[in-house]
Amino acid sequence: MSFTVLEPGLQTTIQASARNGMRHLGVPASGAADPLSLAIANRLLGNDLLAPALEVTLVGPVLGFDASFALAATGGLAKVTLNGEPIEFHQTVLVNPGDELAIGSVEVGMRVYIAFAGGLQANDVLGSVSTYLPAALGGHKGRALVKDDVLRTQRESRLTDSLHTPEGFRPPITSRWTVRACRSAETHLLQEKQRDALVDTHWTIGRRADRMGMQLDGPALKISSDGRMPSAAVFPGTVQCPEDGSPFILSVDAGTTGGYPRIAQVARMDRHLLGQMRPGDHVRFLPREPQEAIAELHAKHDYWRKWLPGIERVI
């Protein structure tokens, strides 16, 4: 009842729910960078929405199956083949002993999620099985998959229903993103024209883009900062700007406190989008007051609840 990693891909990890309630000890959230795609894949298999699954980054793995499994792929656009034949995203797929699943390069978006009926077995560390690579926590031995790793599901990977994601519930994957953002604690260190530049600029995701965060390439922002800000809490979606004026967005594995000015905060409802942004993509910030962003969060939950009951645990 296992499958073997024949090729590991660029960075394939097991991700599930976030590691919650431990930021005061410096323990980051981790979990799927795009939790909505993880939840959809799990939904197709009747799993808990945040059951452990594979998060594939840019270049996918090749998996060889020793038993029958039911699985589903969601997220970034990539060619996925079963024994050389293409398979569709957003639907349940049955694989048999001896089958080979190959996930190719992700062409649009950053990450593909492969979930398995029953959910993957993984190590629970500090309240979550999600992999946090810098401290080797959770997942499969705390690390990205390597060739010849053998993975198992928590129970027999049996399919009860053959499902596909309905139209309207397949999150669009693009290379031009818009995310709602609110002001943060040091937004006032940007003068008015610089605040305008923050929201008017089509930022480019820089080459430094990973689960920690993403550099934003664009005009240098002038910020009244002397590098002596007392360290304060930061979160996934926090936009920080060091003295050199090059802002960056924090993602799921980012540290929990930081000393660079916090100039904006991506609204909760759009944080899942950060997990699909890749170097070269464009992103704009859509300004929102906190009340407005929360009203839109409620509307988004109401929409998604129709297909994903429990969505408020996901986004």
């Binding site: 809490a233 929990t256 929360i294």
Partner: protein
């Protein structure tokens, strides 16, 4: 509108001149406090209520994250205001003292020379100052086990690097803005690095994964690379 107004949404009554409350996101509230000790104490009090997703103290602030799907902004703000109205009860000073061995300079402290230039100290003077007295831990945060040690001598107050390093080795010892920072893990980091320690700040499989906590005391001891086993 957005980004054109910034600052407090309200200041709670009472004599706590700190205690300014402001949004730093649609589900994040920041409370300004007077000291790291107050930040720790208030964070403990807020965490005890069980009403928050996260309660994260900083050097002079506490940020709480609330579940915006379940709790309104007004209720979240009111909960913080109520806690502030109770007053911040400082926690007792810890008796625990850790000696942290540090290999200063060279490859282990690549910014030591630059810090010497900035401060006008020789390396020997800098090391003597840094190891001269006891400090207390202001904050644990950033990454698992990262420790912010307060009380650095004024002359050693240097700013963070203008651009953070993409990679800092585990055990790196940095100084910035009046504090010493101990990097428990490898990863990106913005503090000028003066040395490295082999002291284990985080062990997820130990009974106590985080041996060093806020309020505990620290003394740095200068050792050679051979003594440290580096």
């Amino acid at each position: 509108m957005f980004l054109r107004t910034a600052g407090s949404i309200f200041v709670p009554s009472g004599d706590n001149a700190a205690g300014t409350l402001e949004f730093c996101g649609d589900d994040l509230l920041s409370i300004h406090v007077a000291s790291p000790a107050d930040a720790q104490a208030l964070a403990e009090q807020l965490r005890a209520s069980g009403a928050w997703r996260e309660v994260v103290p900083g050097i002079d602030s506490v940020v709480v994250q609330f579940d915006a799907a379940a709790v309104t902004i007004n209720i979240a703000s009111q909960r913080v205001a109520d806690e502030l109205a109770q007053g911040i009860v400082a926690t007792k000073r810890s008796d625990v003292l850790f000696e942290i061995p540090v290999v200063y300079g060279g490859d282990f402290g690549p910014d030591l020379e630059e810090v010497c230039e900035q401060t006008g100290l020789t390396a020997k003077e800098l090391i003597a100052l840094h190891t001269a007295h006891e400090y207390s831990v202001d904050l644990v945060g950033f990454t698992p086990g990262f420790v912010y040690v307060g009380g650095l001598e004024d002359v050693l107050h240097v700013p963070r690097r203008k651009q953070p390093r993409q990679h800092v080795e585990a055990g790196s010892v940095g100084i910035a803005d009046g504090r010493t920072g101990l990097y428990a893990l490898p990863g990106p980091g913005g503090w000028p690095l003066i040395g490295r320690t082999t002291f284990k700040l985080f062990d997820p499989h130990a009974e106590e994964p985080f041996p060093v906590r806020a309020g505990m005391r620290i003394r740095f001891v200068s050792v050679s690379a051979a003594e440290a086993g580096l």
